[in-house]
Point group: C2
Chain length 362, copies 2
Amino acid sequence: MDIVNFKSEMPAEETVRIPAGKLIDFTYQTFKRVGAPEADAKLIAESFIDSDLRGVYSHGIMRLPIYIHHCRKSGPGGINPRAAVRIVKEGLSFAHVDGDNGMGHLVSIRAMEIAMAKAEKTGMAFVSVYNSNHNGAEGYFAKLAADRGMIGFFVTVGGRNIIAPTGGLTPLLGNNPFAYAIPAKRHYPVVLDMACSVVARGWILLAIKNGLKVPDGWAVDRDGNPTNDAREAYDGLVLPFGGYKGYALTLIGCILGGVLSGAAIGKEVTDLYGDFDRDQNVGHFMWALDLKSILPPDDFMERMDSLIDELKASRLAEGIERIYVPGEKEFLVKEENERLGIPVTLGVLKELNSMGDMKISV
Amino acid sequence: MDIVNFKSEMPAEETVRIPAGKLIDFTYQTFKRVGAPEADAKLIAESFIDSDLRGVYSHGIMRLPIYIHHCRKSGPGGINPRAAVRIVKEGLSFAHVDGDNGMGHLVSIRAMEIAMAKAEKTGMAFVSVYNSNHNGAEGYFAKLAADRGMIGFFVTVGGRNIIAPTGGLTPLLGNNPFAYAIPAKRHYPVVLDMACSVVARGWILLAIKNGLKVPDGWAVDRDGNPTNDAREAYDGLVLPFGGYKGYALTLIGCILGGVLSGAAIGKEVTDLYGDFDRDQNVGHFMWALDLKSILPPDDFMERMDSLIDELKASRLAEGIERIYVPGEKEFLVKEENERLGIPVTLGVLKELNSMGDMKISV
């Protein structure tokens, strides 16, 4: 059994390349069919496929079936495809937002729009969200701010507890991924998008789906024993990155995203793939900071370019060809995938084509 | 040669316990003698010794001599003990602050006070600072917000480049420590205070001062070879925690603290212990978030307590006696050090007593 390839690389023999537009349209149509308004379905589809474009396959179209499964369900455990995201309380630099149990992607975009509009007036604003759902990759929402000359921060209470507090064996914390996005001028924006686990759990799911093992150091089983078995890893504990530092960071994510907003925390947190009878009540927290409050955005972005130039001019370690900044590899993969199409494994393709009467032709 | 003990533990045979009040007074008097106004000297002394109280000896009174050395110097490379911290630009939820080349501790406290005053009115505010200096441990400044029913975030461009971008060998980034502080009710506040290096470089300095080696995995020498020699580690590269994730986080610290504020970044960054001819121009970035904007602070703090209770009830791994939350160990050490006095190594004590005519009696 092979070990799953990490990030941006999928075993070539098992994939076909499909144009991004085709996948966006498939996703858009799929959400429309479960009742999402056109504008919402469009936003959801674009953010979904952006993950695939950037090589973060674990958070892209691979997950469509499970989301749609929730959207088709009515009552507790379902996702509301016609959600009316609304502000329940607001002030000059904050808003408390009820996601109306909508698709996490949609709720996150709407909430970040609120944060940016407020930040534009005051310099900085945060939005605290409850009653949302799993939202894919966080970098997309932080990057909305970078695209508008702002710095964006976004964190989510991850969709299942997989991390134990340091010294413990009970999974009480998610990997609570967070993202910063910062614009540059000549260079790509810097987009840090990381889970507090050693890897995003989506990669373990991908390993299961493709019958692969997971590398050393990713996970332990239920009793704390190291494992390479993807299923044991999935049922056990993913290790936090950097030991207790990763535990501390994921706890901060839980507090910002969940304690503040009133969303699910600790044992209330549900599993996107395992809970179909209670709402997810996922929490998000984000802030946007308007650069022009401090200095002209152009000056800021030139300072960013100089810094990135300086990093790239670093003396290189043996065997290294170039220095990357966070998010850069994903932008490079995106250019490739826009040109060649998005690689989709045959297993995922089969699953997509068995969702309903729509088919993706290859 | 022994290996340096990590965090909160110092080799017992080499230390004497000195009451915190005595060290605060010594620090206060020392700053007054170099010209600091009484109120400023008091704030500086309290934040200095708070590090020692919490067991973060690497950032406490051990560093007094080097700061005073800078304060006694006039012209470039000196620190201004009579700094007038001032706002150069402000809006509803932001301020751009000139530290007037003052003690980093003082500038950080003043800046956080500005952030909190603004956050109280709008919900959230940030302050961007340039022309400051090395400020000790960041948790203290974030905690000012927690003490006022707010969430505080603080990051500093660290006082010397020690980390190379992943794949590189040129130290272009500091360990850019950052802190979050969040209030609870029955429990201690959660205070995450971490460097992006595997350990704060102060611990390597402490190892040098006490003739100890550093553990595996802390550092590499100038050419990227692993080393246990404290001096080689000090002259080489400290490793970022969690590999490329630590590199990404320290880069974010550099951007928030330095690119935004106009403070020193990349090769402009100076070394507190090595540069005496140019100003440090250290940058800080912080935000404060007023909890009551979203929900009654009491409700928030009760939610915090429940979450902490839940973490502490985790099934324990073999050999573990209890679960800690970030900052808790430091609060426990603080209680002990308040009762028994702060352990100071004989080497540090000798250095303090040779600074001038004031002596610390034991």
